[in-house]
Symmetry: D2
Subunit: 337 residues, 4 copies
């Protein structure tokens, strides 16, 4: 921690900060400037909160030194993590594309989509069986039946399955069906849920909350990893800003930044990142261009009758076209689709 | 819904929207302007999503008519809700103040705080036994022991207890101890949890998420109410913006707006709304001045040794002073403390 | 400045930072922690940018010590500034209310409003003769004719005049008519304009930009003051956030914070802060309750035919009612209306 | 306009809206739903503000039909604008790269940079002679001397010049030296300045304000175009959000969206969009991948001694490397560098 005292802080106030540092078993290094005294605090302090010093009289600001995430950091592991599971891998040179409907709606809808995205080159099928909806009156997902349909689609197509789990108690059930457990944006700081998926060995796709900083996303990954599950993918899916023309503001800066700060694979979600199907293909390309390890894309055979997220879903032929365009792009970037 | 077609939308595109409206059992009213055709959709459509039309070819924007919240709305109930429980009430002319530490840390800390806030005029004691923390390495709360200490403090002081519940499975246990169940900001859209507290009859203090709209806050109240629990208090606690000098931006506009849109009591939290103890008293006054029905305030006997939120906690004497100043203010506003 | 090196920064990188500090004539104080080296930089560095160190290899973050504003700061002047001009004052115990239409539209509109707000207790008349409008096709203000009408209204009612100036070259002309020059939110960082009003001795009402930090507002005040004009009022008028139900999010935290950081008077603008006339009165009360030295309020005799900002304008009778309610509130707060 | 009445609006309130529509010479189309009445307003209403109806009693919301920008819109001109000037072009298949220092600091700094970016493939030299700085105590630019150096660099290298103009009165002078006039982000809504550059025939690079919506950016372009200057480039340079790890959040969604809404060329600025040199190259690639027509990049021979924006400036060799990597990417996208 770096404690910056207010201009005009008294000797007694400075002394109290120093005493508090020592009381916590840490070493204070005061530096006396013309207007401000600064006290650098040396020692192991990862669990320490800036508030401990902020609250003291005469303190202006307190700045943490270094990051609080450890297991998720590049310092902990210099090389990129490649997550291997059920015969496939995520991370490394080879890009991954996960595609499918927002919600599982019916057997025919799911199987038709699965076949189409498989043919176009996707390796995973996405589809929600449990849906977090703003309104209690909206469709909440097919539940167990949806999970069974996903398993059937895997059986038929060979695609692996990624699907959302919303409560700690549902983790065992969803784990029976899913190859990857998805933590949705609204649940990024649902710590009971993070602990629960952390106690499994299923790979986890952790979506950034629409209100969450990059630092907080990494701290949520840290929750999962500190429970023993290191198979975490970080997903940028857009944040909330003042711009009304798009559903979210797709923060692609986060992609190269996360790759710098962490060894975990980074997946981009241009469907939620834009909220508009007509922006999905260009933003999918941008995601790959700035270093994402993969994409998750909403595809629906008839977006106009989708029960959710129709406006941001690609039709299978648009998805196939996008995949064809991604190929040469990936190659130009030294990646492989 | 109002569907606005793009300038230059074709007759076929307009026809397809009209057909889709009819297919959904609703009535289309097309209006043909110079550049744009508009289709007003009449009929019961509360569960309908704008996406259903947004996705159609030639559509520019879709606007919902009216609000999705029903049970929480002023339309459903014109008079203010007064929540009566265990011999006290929240809502109506009489203001309520809930005060206490961020975290329950020890018996002496809690009892000392409880006595102090009781003497100063608080009616409820707040204190976290289960704490949602950004870091898995930070103090996570005393758990059951914390709940027991809260119950003991109630026994001794007569203060009612408000404390946070973080997972659906913890609801029965926390309900045994708490007079009011608090849903924290990070869990405002944890629907499993909202359903769980909705199935109890305990009053619920629902905090606005730090990047949630006023509409979404009311929809989360609707989740609880649609499960049968109508005893919901809405809490403004600050939202996340670009301003770095305060922990949150305290959106007090939400207070009179929520009073207008809903019959539910509105509580303001200037501790989280500012993140700085030196701003708590002025912003508590502002909260009351714009119509809040009560306050929730962090108080700690020694903020400088608090395990969490010390920087925004008032010392008991500062809290007592604030309460003395609130009295004449309440009176000038026609309220009673 | 505090320079925090990355974990694992090399001795050469640390040495380069130290050398650069010395090259700038400042004194480096390195502190060697377990993972991170921190270099505190001591010396006069107000014009120095963090970038100077941020750019060096191995640097993680650079934090400025203290604030860049000097003339505007409480350190420079401990007592509250009271701005005296043309027989009235702003600042200190006595509150000021400025009221009037968004735009000057006609002689009758302006005089009718002026009489009404005068009777209700306003001391200044606001009204725009030059209007910054998002659209080039919208009404741009009456210009010189508007200024003349404002002067006539002053002649008749004795109210002082506050009106916006939009370009440096218009400053001399507007200064001939206005008692207070208003810098609008969009122009808060129009430095040519800030310099121009700084070279006059007219009091300046400086509005916070809709996406400007509190620090930046004070730096813009510093621009004006560093030109020799110390008669600056700071105006909180709402910032831009994700919340769509109000035109802006009224950041009232800024009011007590500005009073703490600066000696300048603080004016609140609940008309723009909310964008809705039905929220103006409660938020005017909140503004006063948290310490504002005055209010600026849009009033129009017929908001439904106003050429601009009708939705946030009070009718004269609503304004008069609000003024009556503010009286006892001011008294309860130890202020005078 | 679409006027949505509140649930329970009276017949008199509905009648008053209808009367007001007719009074304005427009045609009202009321639609009576179960809970809400909706009045669609048909007629030419581009200069009309929603406030005109919003202010009326019983009105819930008012939504504009269509966009207010006309000259800048795709409706006005279907094919992409290609701006030709002084022997070069911007827009169309061929990408443009503008590069150079944030500030012109000295003859040697500028010429060295100019040579380097020229060799690497840039077609324009950027460099600020007049600098908008948050602090009045910071370097404000070399002024006229800076312009002369830019002209000399053009003479020597053949690079065209883009440089910022900050006040209306400086437009004639800057136009003598610059090939493209840059409007900085802080001045995007400085209407006096927009009018002034609109009255020239110099191409204008219009930067999006850090607080401005995409709609507002297009309205500012409309200001310039409505004065007769159609040579406008739109520049996405990052917006302000809650994320603290980057200087701005680079809103690349804006790139394909602007290409859809407007015929004007779109330039991306990854230097300001990220604020970190180590993110510039990946985000430059992302910009091209989602459809930008060009880039503007800060390059400095010694970022560690730059007077401004060092932290986001590339060294010439890093810039050259980025340009080499952009080549194959452009080709894979069907563009040419």
């Amino acid at each position: 921690m770096i404690v910056i005292m207010k201009a005009g802080a008294t000797a007694a106030e400075i002394g109290a900060v120093i005493a508090r540092v020592e009381e916590l078993g840490l070493t204070p290094h005061p530096i006396y400037g013309e207007n401000h005294t600064v006290i650098a605090v040396v020692g192991e302090a990862v669990a320490l909160e800036p508030d401990v010093f902020q609250v003291l009289s005469g303190v202006e600001t307190v700045t943490r030194i270094g990051h609080q995430f450890k297991l998720a950091s590049r310092q902990a592991k210099a090389e990129d993590t490649v997550i291997a599971f059920n015969g496939t891998t995520i991370g490394g040179r080879k890009l991954v594309v996960m595609a499918g409907p927002c919600s599982v709606e019916s057997r025919s809808q799911l199987l038709e989509t699965a076949q189409a995205v498989k043919e176009a080159g996707a390796r995973l099928l996405r589809g929600g069986a449990y849906k977090p909806r703003t309104s209690p009156y909206a469709f909440q997902g097919m539940g167990l039946k949806g999970l069974e349909l996903l398993a059937e689609a895997r059986e038929i197509t060979g695609l692996k399955i990624v699907t959302e789990v919303m409560t700690p108690e549902a983790v065992p059930l969803v784990s029976q069906y899913a190859d990857i457990l998805q933590i949705g944006a609204r649940n990024m700081q649902n710590y009971g849920l993070l602990n629960a998926v952390g106690r499994t060995q299923r790979p986890v796709l952790l979506k950034r909350g629409m209100m969450s900083t990059i630092q907080e996303l990494l701290m949520s990954a840290e929750y999962i990893m500190s429970n023993g599950n290191y198979k975490v993918m970080l997903c940028e899916r857009g944040i909330r800003t003042f711009e009304p023309m798009t559903r979210n503001t797709f923060d692609l800066n986060a992609v190269p930044l996360l790759k710098q700060l962490s060894h975990l694979p980074v997946i981009a979600d241009p469907s939620h990142g834009t909220g508009r199907w007509d922006l999905v293909a260009p933003m999918a390309k941008a995601s790959i261009a700035c270093g994402a390890d993969g994409l998750i894309i909403e595809v629906h055979p008839q977006p106009e009758v989708a029960v959710s997220d129709g406006a941001q879903s690609l039709k299978p032929e648009k998805f196939a076209q996008m995949m064809r365009e991604l190929g040469p792009l990936a190659e130009a970037l030294g990646r492989e689709l």
